[in-house]
């Protein structure tokens, strides 16, 4: 990473997310156990851990795709509770990219991107299209704007999904295993897009097993197991000197093959 990029990727003191003593159950299954996490603006956090450890559930709680049962979650100073107004406000500021893209197959790429700015931000159509084209260019597929999602490759679809979230100009981006459903040939193009985004100073929380990505852009790596955060370090430390036995086991399983 060049020095100028490192400068751009500086972390500020402004707190963007604070979770304290968050617990969540699916029926009787205790899926998030006493989660405490603070994220500052500009931070790039990678969450990893074995499957079923609650990584996805954690970030899905941040925009109320899942409801937590106890504890406090604060996003951008807004308390996440049953108040629909607060939920809407948070969702406007938090973008999310899914494992399976979740593009809308009946709308063109451009319409996918302009939908939320037009209907949620009440932006005039022309302005929304200008913004959409700006971000489609940033993810390097402006020429696909008038195609339908089904006509694009997986990697292209995921880049559209990233552009679609960016069109809302969010303060924070959540990535839920963005490369897990992609063919190996397409992972790189999506990761490159995410790296570029990080270098522009976007705050992001990313659930992923792409350790190369974690080394390159993350300023903190969080390891979860059985619904708890059991290790939290900067990437070099995390990969070179893991403390917890479960972290060591996990790293040996995903790195040594």
């Amino acid at each position: 990473m060049s020095a100028s990029n490192a400068k751009k990727m500086q972390v500020t003191d402004e707190v963007i997310i604070s979770m304290s003593q968050v617990n969540k159950w699916f029926g009787t299954f205790h899926v998030l156990r006493d989660i405490n996490l603070t994220v500052n603006k500009g931070e790039r956090i990678v969450i990893c851990g074995p499957s079923g450890s609650g990584k996805s559930t954690l970030i899905r709680c941040l925009n109320r795709l899942e409801e937590h049962q106890s504890g406090d979650i604060n996003v951008q100073g807004i308390t996440l509770n049953n108040d629909l107004k607060n939920i809407d406000e948070i969702r406007r500021e938090v973008g999310m990219v899914f494992q399976h893209f979740n593009l809308f197959p009946h709308l063109t790429i451009l319409e996918n991107c302009t939908l939320a700015p037009i209907w949620v931000r009440r932006m005039p159509k022309a302005d929304a299209e200008a913004i959409a084209m700006k971000y489609l260019e940033r993810v390097k597929i402006p020429e696909q704007a008038h195609k339908y999602p089904g006509q694009l490759s997986g990697g292209q679809q995921q880049r559209v999904a990233i552009a679609r979230s960016l069109c809302m100009e969010p303060q924070l981006m959540l990535f839920d295993e963005p490369t897990s459903a992609l063919d190996p040939e397409m992972i790189k193009e999506v990761l490159d897009t995410m790296v570029a985004l990080a270098e522009d100073g976007m705050s992001m929380i990313c659930v992923t097993h792409e350790m190369g990505f974690a080394r390159k852009v993350a300023n903190r790596v969080i390891f979860m197991d059985e619904g708890q955060i059991i290790e939290e370090k900067d990437p070099e430390e995390f990969f070179n000197n893991p403390e917890n036995d479960r972290t060591k086991l996990f790293l040996s399983q995903i790195l040594d093959h």
Binding site: D83, D88, F98, F104, P105, H106, L115, V120, R164
Partner: protein, 461 residues
């Protein structure tokens, strides 16, 4: 370096032309006509092929035979006109006292021509028929305009067809001038406005979190009440038209009124019921489920009987509303319940990720439904929706059991006319009615296929 195995290629395999059974005219014939009858490679296959040939020839024979029979009856042997005004004698054989050769069997079209006005419009007064013609003409043009997406403004025309046209048709057909009192309309509209305000306050969160979630129901009902009373208001204006009661309507006119009202009302009602049934709110969900299961559980004939015979017994004396209107409401609610289940099928086919994608971007529940979920769900169930429409169109014939004369009912009473009594009278009329029904139902079917093809282009995966 080791020598490569023999099965590893050292040069590209050549691209070869396809065999005759795969491409060109021979390929088409092979795949579409002879697929199951041209294989003689084993005794079993040969027997199967010979059987298929025999069976195919038999089918072709039956088809041609029947088609010719129909063409002969309807066109070649048919009596087309009755220039001398002989009525039934125009279609009598020598033996029966007429002029046609013995053993003649053909359609008696002059009978249908003579009864055409009755079959189409029933006892609607002839001097007022121009109103029906205008309503039909505007309706036909508007419908075609709205359905063809090549036409400019087809969406706007569609909206007009759903809002202004029913009112126009209602005033033209009945003559308007309903005596609704201004006070009653005013009170209802005031009530509607009150409901909308309550809904607004609820949505803004002034009335508690639980209420905020059902506030949209209040707004919808409020707007419905206002729209209904604006219609009542306009329908009570005196347009100086002779009133024609629905008792004087009949024939195809009734069929179209019942079917179109049912079709137009059942889709939105069905969508609301389907969304309600899948709602997270238990009260809404249970109410919608009970409604749907109730109406699906009773036969349409029962519904119509209840509406026309039983309902007046329960209403207070003096309160009476139109027999046709009662049947219409019955048909509407009945078909809405069926439509709801078709739509629910479509909703269940939508991936959970679509809801999450929309929610994560901050779209509200109604925005998510209108912009993301329903367009996809309804596209998936177009065949089911059109199936319900076609079923409804044909079920309108049941209204004749409560004394409303639809196309079939009017045709049947025309058949009873002794002045046209011939052995072929009934067959001719039923053939005519069958053709009319077929044109409408086949039209709907073709349009649905056209829509499916048009919409499926966005679903290439």
């Amino acid at each position: 370096m080791t020598t490569p195995h023999k099965y590893v290629r050292t040069e590209d395999a050549p691209l070869l032309p396809p065999p005759a059974t795969e491409a060109g005219i021979t390929g088409w014939l092979w795949q579409n006509i002879f697929a199951s009858m041209a294989d003689y490679q084993s005794i079993g296959a040969a027997i199967r092929s010979l059987f298929m040939i025999t069976f195919s020839l038999l089918l072709v024979y039956v088809f041609i035979n029947q088609t010719f029979g129909l063409i002969d009856f309807a066109i070649l042997s048919a009596v087309w006109s009755d220039p001398d005004g002989l009525k039934r004698e125009a279609c009598w054989t020598v033996q029966q006292g007429g002029a046609l050769p013995d053993g003649w069997h053909g359609a008696c079209w002059p009978f249908v021509w003579a009864k055409q006005k009755f079959a189409w419009f029933g006892p609607y007064p002839s001097e007022e028929l121009w109103r029906v013609y205008i309503a039909l003409a505007v309706g036909t043009v508007g419908l075609i305009w709205a359905l063809l997406d090549r036409m400019p403004y087809h969406r706007q025309v569609g909206v007009l067809m759903l809002t202004i046209y029913p009112l126009l048709a209602f005033i033209l057909l009945t003559g308007g001038n309903n005596e609704a009192s201004l006070t009653s309309i005013g009170v209802w509209i005031f009530g509607g406005l009150a409901m909308i305000s309550v809904g607004r306050m609820g949505a803004a969160g002034y009335l508690g979190a639980v209420f905020a979630e059902i506030s949209s129901v209040f707004s919808i009902v409020g707007w419905g009440i206002i729209a209904l009373n604006v219609v009542r208001g306009i329908a009570s204006v005196d347009f100086n038209l002779t009133p024609v009661g629905t008792g004087d309507w009949g024939g195809l006119l009734i069929t179209l009124v019942v079917a179109l009202t049912g079709i137009v009302a059942s889709l939105p009602l069905g969508i609301i019921l389907a969304l309600g049934r899948r709602s997270q709110m238990p009260v809404v969900s249970i109410l919608c489920t009970i409604f749907i299961e109730f109406w699906r559980g009773v036969p349409l004939i029962t519904v119509l009987f209840m509406a026309s015979v039983m309902l007046p017994l329960f209403l207070p004396a003096g309160v009476n509303f139109d027999n046709l209107l009662r049947a219409l409401i019955g048909v509407m609610l009945f078909s809405a319940a069926y439509m709801a289940e078709v739509v629910r099928g479509g909703l269940q086919g939508i991936d959970k990720g679509q809801y999450e994608g929309a929610q994560a971007m901050g779209l509200s529940y109604w925005q998510t439904m209108r912009l993301i979920i329903l367009p996809q769900a309804l596209t998936h169930v177009i065949p089911g929706i059109v199936n319900t429409f076609i079923g409804l169109f044909k079920d309108t014939t049941l209204v004749s059991i409560v004394g409303i004369f639809d196309l079939l009912g009017a045709g049947q009473s025309a058949v009873a006319d002794a002045a046209w009594s011939t052995p072929v009278q009934a067959i001719t009329m039923y053939l005519y009615i069958g053709v009319i029904f077929f044109i409408f139902c086949f039209g709907m079917s073709r349009y649905s296929i056209f829509m499916e093809n048009k919409l499926s282009k966005s679903r290439r995966h």
